[in-house]
């Protein structure tokens, strides 16, 4: 067989390619699969959080804010534990960003709260003197698009097997279930239930009234998303 191969350079090349490719796959694939598996404690996004994520993308927050903490002492002191690849398992697309005009937001849910975000998005410089971040006042009146977020959730659940309605293991050994509605009406009801909890911690009367009417302003969804970043 080797004599035959030596006389047929094309098939010899194919053989060499196969051997090297196999070695590569054996080395790369298992560790890749391991690293991309969700970390314990990483949950899929709920309907309101998915909506907020779309608003985050729509307003290009990722142009100025990264979501990737590098393993340097100076970064972990400021932002918390460095990022692990499995923490992005449910991010489609990931929002690592490539530039920090503002701070990293990977774990902003750990150290900022609803009322702070409310003040800050309305007038960033009023809370952080010298901030160059623009105000996002329209988010307080624009109504969030729940059906589109539900479509994204549905795609994630059906095509990417994101585990909605299934127990997700948490760090403390318990499990949590992230529910997904069966249809748009149900999804909207679930989003509204989440929004009511957020709005209860907010001060803006127009936002509170809108949520009471059954409408969800964009700011509520965005805050739900930011609070989920942990």
């Amino acid at each position: 067989m080797f004599h035959w191969l030596e006389k047929h350079p094309f098939f010899f090349s194919v053989g060499v390619f196969l051997v090297i490719a196999f070695a590569g796959l054996v080395e790369i694939l298992p560790s890749f699969a391991q690293a991309s598996r969700p970390v314990i404690g990483t949950k899929p996004y709920s309907i309101l959080e998915t909506t907020g994520r779309q608003i985050y993308i729509k307003n290009s927050c990722n142009a100025c804010h990264s979501q990737l903490i590098r393993p340097f002492k100076s970064e972990t002191d400021r932002y918390g534990h460095y990022s692990l690849s499995g923490e992005y398992a449910y991010d489609r697309p990931f929002l690592w960003g490539s530039k920090r005009t503002g701070p990293d937001l990977m774990r902003v849910g750990n150290y900022r709260t609803t009322d702070w975000h409310e003040n800050h998005m309305k007038d960033p410089a009023g809370v952080v003197p010298g901030s160059v971040m623009p105000a996002y006042r329209w988010m307080y009146t624009n109504i969030a698009d729940i059906p589109t977020a539900y479509a994204e959730q549905l795609t994630n659940a059906q095509f990417f097997s994101v585990p909605y309605n299934e127990p997700i293991p948490m760090k403390d050994g318990t499990t949590e279930v992230v529910k997904m509605g069966n249809n748009v009406t149900q999804a909207h009801a679930m989003a509204l239930a989440e929004a009511k909890e957020i709005a209860a911690d907010m001060k803006d009367q127009n936002v509170k009234d809108a949520v009471a009417r059954g409408e969800i302003p964009e700011i509520v969804a965005l805050i739900a998303y930011l609070n989920s970043l942990k």
């Binding site: 393993p71 002492k73 150290y111 609803t114 009322d115 702070w116 809370v127």
Partner: protein
Amino acid sequence: MNKLYLWGIIITIIMFAATFYTLVITAGDSGKGLSEILSNDIINSLAIAGAITLVIITVFVVIKYVRQMQTDTAQGQLIDEQWDGIGEYLNEIPKGWGIAFILTMVWGMWYFTIGYPLNAYSQIGEYNEDSAVHNAKFESKYSAITGDRLVDMGKSVFLAECKVCHGLNADGIDGKAADLNVRIEEKTVKFAIENGSNNHLLGSEMPMPDRNGLFNSNTGALITDAEIDIVSKYVANGMSGAGEDVFMGTCAACHGEDGKGMEYVAPSVATFTPELVTNILNHGKKGSIGQMPAFERLNAKQKEAVGAYVTDLSK
């Protein structure tokens, strides 16, 4: 003389000439004489010497092997097998090559089992080392500081972590967070009385009851709206003014007659204490303004320092 040597000498001369020509150009560009360039800088002289040696060696080594190809004849026994008509001699492998081959295998095994796994660079490994060095330095430098230095440290931590909500002057930015220049604001006292409080402060799991569990022992009845108003003003006023009797009748049982709290029972409402601040940093707090998150990534000394700074602010 062999024609080959003649060619060798001609090529050598051409290459020397090229080297010389390059030197003349360089000298012309720099505005210095040729001898000046060579004598002023040993590196230049060495480079020229190296170029000349290289030319001579290259030319004559090439000549040696070309002659060998011309004159050598094959010797030794051929093996039976042929590859596309090319045969091979049945020779011993060269000793030096054989030793190098075996040493390479030994090195390969060492590298595979020990060399790479134990000495490989890892970003996380470097991070862990950096953190350990930093923490040790922090420990040796700051673990024993007290008094003014602790307050200074608290101020710098405050400016890094707390000012985003509480403001540069710790005034809470127009009610967006607690004003830390006073121990407690009237609305905060009211909120705690109306809603109760359980922030796991001072290690106690016991919640403070809401207004439906707060009796005024002077009147023997639940605390009233008027009493809440007056006692809130009393506490926010730094435990002075009207309302002392309500405080004594309702709050003093847990918070102490002077309002300074009791260990494992209730926190001080008269002054900040480092323990109280550390507790809030550990557990976070939900009150009249909103929620304050826990700041677990500060280390124990930093929390103590923030406590000292905040206590100092409201004095």
